[in-house]
Symmetry: C2
DNA sequence: CTGAAAGCGCTTACAG
DNA sequence: CTGAAAGCGCTTACAG
């Protein structure tokens, strides 16, 4: 095995690599024959600089490959264009898509994005403090219990925006937050199943983001409301979890009862597991049982039967949450007021009329 | 709607919120009646401090809720415990799982993790420089062409580790890098299909990470090698892409030919699309056609038919990559030498003996 | 064991 | 329009 010679940098060809440490503002000043304050003015686009001076400085910047030290800038100016996302997960579709939206928004605004996953073992206060110390602001993904708890503990003086499951019932969130109308979406999905002739709709739940009994999870609540409005007694939600395995367990139980002809799931992964369990039990979808998911994960349109589900604009929610944070960090920035798309029911193969 | 009063901070109850700005090292010094250098010693665990002094300082730290300013520390010490991940994607399973491993490793080592998504429109050199300016090191996910290109442009003086598709053939990578033996894994999967009696195996490719003809993508190459070893002429790989839609397109074409009885796919999303296309074409899996994927995404075991695939330890690869970077950043740290698990073939329902 | 000095690389007033 | 000063909050030698 041998190593062929190769150039390492894609920078200006022919120029020798700058020595050890990067060029500083003073190096540029010396090269341009000005004071380093003038260099500061130029690189910050300050207006009061003579055109010729500006050009000399810019030439020196080019020649030395100068890049302003971000750390020093942050310390001196107190401005940190950065966001840290506090989340409990980065892989589940809803979280990953939200994160993607956040990253995109941060990037196009010129902000650096940090990610910190929280676990139940964490000392939340310490975690939050450490993230806040980084300088910029915080975005908390509060879709689950731990995330919601973290949001509650963010000190008042820390710039922070949140993504939540729904507006805390009975009170406004004490932080700028975005959410989708999951309640309405679940209602729509449930009504759809009822309209197809199903006499009842069962629900496989995702874990609630709050421990309090008073504030039901919005998806579960929407489902319940739709049933009640149709004078149907809501059955007990079946199981809870985030992944296909949890859905499979719940599905196994539901498959045993011939009365079950329609199942709404808290997310698409659960639905996938339910589908699998129904298949194993020999119950056909949608002929015997209709299944609807939530979120519209990328694969949901390609499984067989393709999954009827509620499309959520996590991407847009992520972007909006960043906008909320930015408005706090950079007050003279026009807040773009991004409005995420409303959840929409996407009808595919897994739902159909009740067998007669 | 009304807002009920609530305490915002989870900090020490009863203590009034600290004024505007956070306590500095000097505030602590004053409170403890020592110089601020002594405070520095205490918070850095320097040994030469009298026990009693140390306790006084620690008490003051507690009382004032002092937290060392990370920016100032970074500037003064030149040490930044942070990593920035350069990637083209955060949502596709392979990327997301790698990122998860990286985040976990970084977190448990006390490093902050940044994420920067690269797009084809980016000025790569500028992007890399900006990421490097942050202070810490870089981890480049080089699974695809853009990622691999970025890796090539990282300046020599920037601490950097990479995840690559495979060791650049014919030369060692000029950066510490980790990879899995995709070539061997593809060979194994292909041999498995041949052993099941299939006379040929078709391949639906993921995009190559390199443009050069000489260095074939490892998964494609392993597939090709296995066929050649069995004296089978490899058919032209069919289509290319990352997602189920791309797989669907490729699958539509393959479904038309009755000769096609076995298909290896570059990842599970492609396989899902292929499965869907076969279903639409009325070809049964595995009775008529066997399908094998790559990666073992979370849903692959729950679709019907469940997917035979190659399990990849992206998580372990991510952890290992972080270890490689850390060894550069923190030289007196014992490198833990994490070894990711080898890829393994997971046999499920989508593959079976050739129909006779 | 502890304090006084200089400096990390930049910015923000203050002078001219 | 440009330069000299002070400071962001911390660390690293240097003295004692």
């Amino acid at each position: 095995m041998h190593v062929t010679g190769h150039t390492t940098s894609g920078g200006s060809a022919g120029l020798s690599q700058s020595p050890q440490r990067a060029a500083s503002i003073r190096d540029v000043a010396q090269a341009a024959g000005v004071s380093y304050q003038t260099v500061s003015r130029v690189i910050n686009g300050h207006p009061n600089v003579k055109q010729e001076t500006r050009e000399r400085v810019e030439a020196a910047v080019q020649a030395l490959g100068f890049r302003r030290n971000a750390t020093a800038f942050a310390l001196a100016s107190g401005v940190t264009r950065s966001v840290t996302v506090l989340t409990t997960n980065t892989v589940l579709y809803g979280y990953a898509a939200t994160l993607q939206g956040l990253e995109e928004a941060a990037r196009s605004a010129g902000y650096a994005l940090g990610v910190r996953v929280m676990t139940p073992e964490d000392d939340l206060d310490r975690t939050i403090a450490a993230a806040a110390d980084t300088g910029g602001g915080l975005v908390v993904i509060g879709y689950d219990r731990l995330g919601a708890a973290a949001l509650d503990r963010v000190p008042a003086h820390v710039p922070c925006a949140a993504l939540v499951e729904a507006p805390p019932p009975g009170r406004t969130p004490h932080r700028p937050a975005v959410w989708a109308d999951d309640r309405q979406a679940a209602r729509t999905a449930t009504e759809h199943l009822l309209a197809l002739g199903h006499e009842n709709v069962h629900y496989v739940a995702i874990p609630a983001s709050t421990g309090s009994r008073r504030s039901a999870a919005p998806r579960a609540e929407g489902w319940r409301q739709a049933l009640k409005a149709a004078d149907v007694t809501p059955p007990a939600p079946c199981g809870t979890g985030w992944d296909a395995q949890a859905g499979y367990e719940a599905g196994k139980k539901l498959a045993k009862s011939p009365d079950v002809t329609a199942i709404l799931c808290g997310n698409d992964d659960l639905a996938l597991g339910v589908l699998r369990a129904l298949h194993h039990a020999g119950r056909r979808v949608p002929e015997d049982v209709s299944v609807i998911g939530f979120d519209d994960a990328p694969h949901s349109g390609f499984i067989t039967p393709s999954l009827t589900t509620v499309r959520m604009d996590f991407h847009g929610l992520g972007r909006a949450a960043f906008g909320l944070l930015r408005a706090q960090l950079d007050t003279d920035q026009p807040a773009p007021a991004l409005v995420p798309a409303e959840p929409t029911l996407v009808c595919r193969e897994s739902s159909g009329p009740r067998a007669t």
